[in-house]
Amino acid sequence: MPTILPLLGVPLVFAVFTFFARTQKAFARTVRAAAVCVAAASLLCVAAHYGDVYSADLSAYPRIKTVMLAIEVAMSAYLIYIGAARRHFLLSLFSAAQIGAFVWFEAAYGHSIRVKEAVTVDRLSLIMIAIVGVIGGLICVYAVEYMKDFHRHHPEYKDRRPMFFTVLMVFLAAMFGLVVSNDLSFMLFFWEVTSLCSFLLIGYTRTPEAEKNAFLAVVINTFGGLCFTVGIVLLAVYENILDLNGLIRLNPDAPIVVAAVFLIACAGLTKAAQLPFSGWLLGAMAAPTPTSAMLHSSTMVKAGVYVIIRLAPLLGRNAAGVSMTLVGGVTFFATAVLAVGQSDAKKILAYSTISNLGLIVACAGINTAESLWAAVMLIVFHAIAKSLLFLAVGSTEYQLGSRNVEDMDGLFQISPALTTFLAVGIAGMFVAPFGMLISKWAAMKAFVDSGNVPVVLMLAFGSSVTLFFWTKWLGKLIANAHRTAPTNYVMRGDEKVSMYSLAALVVVVCLAHPLISSGFIAPYIEGAMLTPFASPIASRTTTVIILMLCMLFIIPIVLLPLYTRRRVKRTSVYMSGENTGDNRSFRGGMGRVRPVELRNWYMPSLLREKRLLAAGGGVCALIVLGGFFVAMGGAFL
């Protein structure tokens, strides 16, 4: 316990400090200290529990449950009230149903079921703790200067930074709580806390758009919470089980287990923003950048896939597993296609997040050792690369006054550092030899092994689409045809620290992935599946991957002196002889001088966002509904 308590305690203590901070200096100091302490606490926990699976029995402290129940009732009361006040009655309805079911259950059954180990920390928890602590901490550090600039750029918004940082801290604490919970009612409590936190963070600016998106997020996530609660109640009432470790040892073909697992996994789908439920994550990008970075990389959506991965031993060939696999596969493909049509950098990132989460969900859905390995690796690499990308886009938006990819022409001349961060992040997302691709490869192998042809096809097509939209963004960073006038923004120390650290992590974690695999993921899979496990990436392959990484660094370094010494003649580009002297303009019709503008392809005639979203969402909704009827029918008919 002495290593677990600080995980919740440290962020909560700093939450109080930031709540009372008023000056920029005070924010900077407390948040920096908080980030360092949280990261230290998480790494300490990883170091302390690396050797064993730690469990704690909390049944001697019944008050903990009472306090949690009280807080949960209070949160629900707030949501019911605000839903009724702002005429979002669906929110009130879901929230009331959820808390009603939960209170009834606690009163009727809660005390009859004894959970031996309320807290369990295994290797998967450790990975999550490290991600939340380190990446979450770095995002908080970034937020210090960013939020100051945010209010300088937008004087129309009320400065509510104390609330903002407090909620960030509570968010981190709730994430830690979620990943160490073995008692499902604990997990549900933290689950609800993250939903509420995301509501407060997304609605930060209190503009009508922000409010709309915040309510969308909380409605969808409360619906997920409702599913989670009903799933728990089913398990407790019929199977007399309330802990995760007990749950995954149940028979995966028992109808009632399938029904309960399906419901909890559906809650995971809402939080992981899978297709019929992805509206909220797209809306969430309207929030300030640190919020998006937090929701997209280390917290929130990762809580969704974390729960589904935890349930993986009960998925596979049953109704719950098949529907998760298909929803994940369709989401992976559909949102990758959707990303092609976007030029708003944050929107590309949002769609790509949903797409990658789809892959993780599909991996958990088929439930093989290799697919689980891929799923956990994807979580790790995605968290690092995506947070870097979000932070870099946030700074780029200040630097250029726009976050449109088409305006990033010539960013290299304006800010080489930002361009490098973006390029490293993008490369980390899709190209060999970086992490995402290694994990995607393992995922592909797992799907081919399982013989799931539809998903294999979606993977093949989806990957090539992914390649398309990332490469054209990368190209824009390198191109320099027209230049957007930079603003007078200067990157601050805090922002630099967090982005340099994340960029370094992208490379280092890629090099260290065999260690993560053998040290954390393999033991976790052996524990969950009860079979010996070896990494799907052979050691010879790892050598080649590292060789490629070296080539990427060494070739340019070798070429640089070679090419700078051998000067070549510079000429202007070919413009059918209508050049005006520089490469930025040409003589157009009637001899008028016009600027050169080179725009990427977005294929608007093929890709209509609304229609595609409706189609993908419709397909996924049908799959979920089908899964629901089969699972419930099996259990209750």
């Binding site: 490869w441 192998k445 080649v544 990427l552 340019p556 090419y563 003649k569 580009v573 490469n583």
Partner: protein, 288 residues
């Protein structure tokens, strides 16, 4: 001793692969010329071209283009090396993709309108053939039991027996990858197809030579994929497969000369439909 053998093998690949690629390109030009009732250049012309280009004075429009072209060539060579050493096929595909990405980036870095249009089309072409290349790897993995290229020589029967549809799909996208008409959208080998040469519009001298050499390696890798479909434990198949690769290449030449260029949308839709049907049907049959 093992290190020596490895070095010799690498050297062998580094000499044989470009030689084969160059000869194939030369053959392509001669056969094309005969189809058009011309005499055509000598078969060694591609080598003369490259040597001449390398000696010419280079000009450039952007300082970065050379780096990307060089990186692209290096990774193309690396791909063929991995393939030739019998390593993991997926790694080859990924290295190959990386080479393509660098080539595309070289187009972006030139800031030239014509080059840019070619680059976007090249990206679409990558999107056309990439799913098929992945499916070829998946199919190969299913029939041989491993992704290792070297294991093809230990199979009991040629892969094409169990992957006939995937093989058809591969033949289809081969013309996209080798930029043969009707899919030579991003840049064409033929003067009559376009006046301004797509991605490589702004490249001169040594850069152009590197693109040419890259193309040799690309051709060798693409035909290497064809080779995998025919080779199995019997040594006779090793030579027969080579002959069949040559036949596949000549078929591409014929198609190249028989079709007019299509629009990008048709190219994309057509290849995806072909891949979906051939790949899907074949994978389903394998998993029945």
């Amino acid at each position: 001793m093992r290190a020596l053998i490895l070095t010799l093998r690498i050297l062998g690949i580094l000499i044989l692969a470009p030689a084969a690629g160059g000869l194939l390109t030369g053959l392509d030009r001669v056969v094309s010329a005969r189809m058009q009732r011309r005499k055509g250049p000598p078969i060694l012309q591609p080598f003369y071209d490259v040597m001449k280009l390398a000696r010419k004075q280079s000009t450039t429009v952007s300082s970065m283009t050379r780096y990307f072209v060089t990186l692209s060539m290096c990774f193309n060579i690396f791909t063929v090396l991995l393939f030739g050493l019998g390593l993991d096929l997926m790694l080859c595909v990924f290295a190959f993709t990386l080479a393509c990405v660098f080539f595309v980036l070289s187009g972006y870095s030139s800031n030239s309108p014509f080059s840019f249009v070619g680059t976007e089309r090249e990206l679409v072409q990558i999107m056309c053939y990439e799913p098929m290349v992945l499916i070829v790897a998946f199919g190969y993995y299913q029939v041989s039991g491993s992704f290792n290229v070297g294991d093809a020589f230990r199979m009991g029967s040629p892969a094409v027996m169990r992957l006939p549809f995937i093989f058809i799909g591969l033949l289809y996208v081969l013309s996209v990858k080798l930029r043969k008409s009707p899919f030579d959208l991003s840049m064409s080998h033929h003067g009559h197809q376009e006046i301004v040469k797509g991605v490589i519009t702004e490249l001169t001298g040594i850069c152009l030579a590197m693109v040419e050499v890259s193309h040799w390696f690309e051709t060798v890798f693409a035909l290497g994929l064809v080779y995998l479909f025919f080779v199995y434990a019997s040594p006779a198949s090793w030579a027969a497969a080579l002959a069949l690769c040559l036949a596949a290449f000549l078929m591409e030449t014929l198609i190249d000369n028989a079709f007019a260029r299509v629009k990008w949308k048709l190219a994309l839709q057509a290849s995806w439909i072909v891949i979906f049907v051939t790949g899907g049907v074949n994978l389903l049959l394998l998993n029945l």
